[in-house]
Symmetry: C2
Amino acid sequence: MNIGDAAERSGLPAKTIRYYEDIGLLKPDRAGNGYRDYSTADLHRLRFLQRARSLGFSVEECRQLLSLYGDTRRESADVKAIATAKLDDIDRKIRELTGLQVMLRQLVDSCHGDHRPDCPIIDGLSGRHDLH
Amino acid sequence: MNIGDAAERSGLPAKTIRYYEDIGLLKPDRAGNGYRDYSTADLHRLRFLQRARSLGFSVEECRQLLSLYGDTRRESADVKAIATAKLDDIDRKIRELTGLQVMLRQLVDSCHGDHRPDCPIIDGLSGRHDLH
DNA sequence: CATAGACCTTCCAGCAGGTGGAAGCTCAAG
DNA sequence: CTTGAGCTTCCACCTGCTGGAAGGTCTATG
C-alpha cells in the first residue's frame, strides 16, 4: 500500500507518516520503485499512533506504548501505569483551564466593551487589581 | 533594575525576558556597563506578559494587547473581542480534554493491570475494538 | 508513443515559545 | 586580589510537525 492510501486509512497526513518513520516509529518496506509499501501491521501502528496522539500521548509515550504493544511478554500493569499518568495530566490540564476560564470570564463580564478607553481586562492583566 | 530582579518580580525566567526583548515585546534601557535596566513600566509589561501567557494568550495576542495597552485612544471593545475569542478557545479545549478523559478513563478502568500480557488499553488504542 | 497530471521521493527551512550551554565581561564580598 | 555570582551575546536544540523545491514515477488519454 502506498503512502497516500496509508494516510487516508490511518487519518494521518503523509508528511506526518514520513516524519514518524524518520524518528523511528515504524519501518515500512520499499517497493521496487522506491515507494514506501505499508503492510496491514504498519497500518495498525499508524492507527495506533493517530489515536494515541489525539488522546494526548506524547510521541515518546507512543514510542513506549508501541514497544509494549509489540512485546507479548509485557505486563499489562506497565501500560496501565502510562495511561494512568496521562489521565492525571489530563485532569490537571482541565483544572488549570477551568481556573483560567473563571478568571477570564470575570474579566470579560466586567468589561463594558464600548468606546471608552478604560478597560477592566487590560487593568486586570496588568496586575493593577488582584484577581484572586 | 537588573534582569535577575525583573525575573524574580515578574515571575518570568531571565532567558524568557531576553527572548521577549528579541521578539520586540519590550525595549529596556541599558546601564553604562551594558546591563539591561528595567523600569517599573517595563516590569508592568513583564507582569502583563506573564499573566496573559499563563492565561493562554499567544505571544502574538499579547503583542496586540500590549499595543492596545499603551494606546490611550484604543477602544475597550477591541480588547473585549480578543478576550472573548480566547474564552471560546478555552471552552473548546476543556470540551476536547473532557472527551479524552472519558475515553481514557474507560480504557484504564477496563484494564486489569496485572501480569497478564493482554491489555484493553493497547487493544483500544490499536483500534481492534471500537471505542465510540 | 507522447504528454499531462497525480503521486511519490529526498532534502532543507521554518513555525511556536522558549531552554541550555559556551565564552567572556562585570560587580560585590572577603 | 581572588572568587563567585550575575550579566552579556550567540548558537544550537527541543517538540511535532508543515511547507516547498526539485525531481522521479505511474496512469490515462490522445
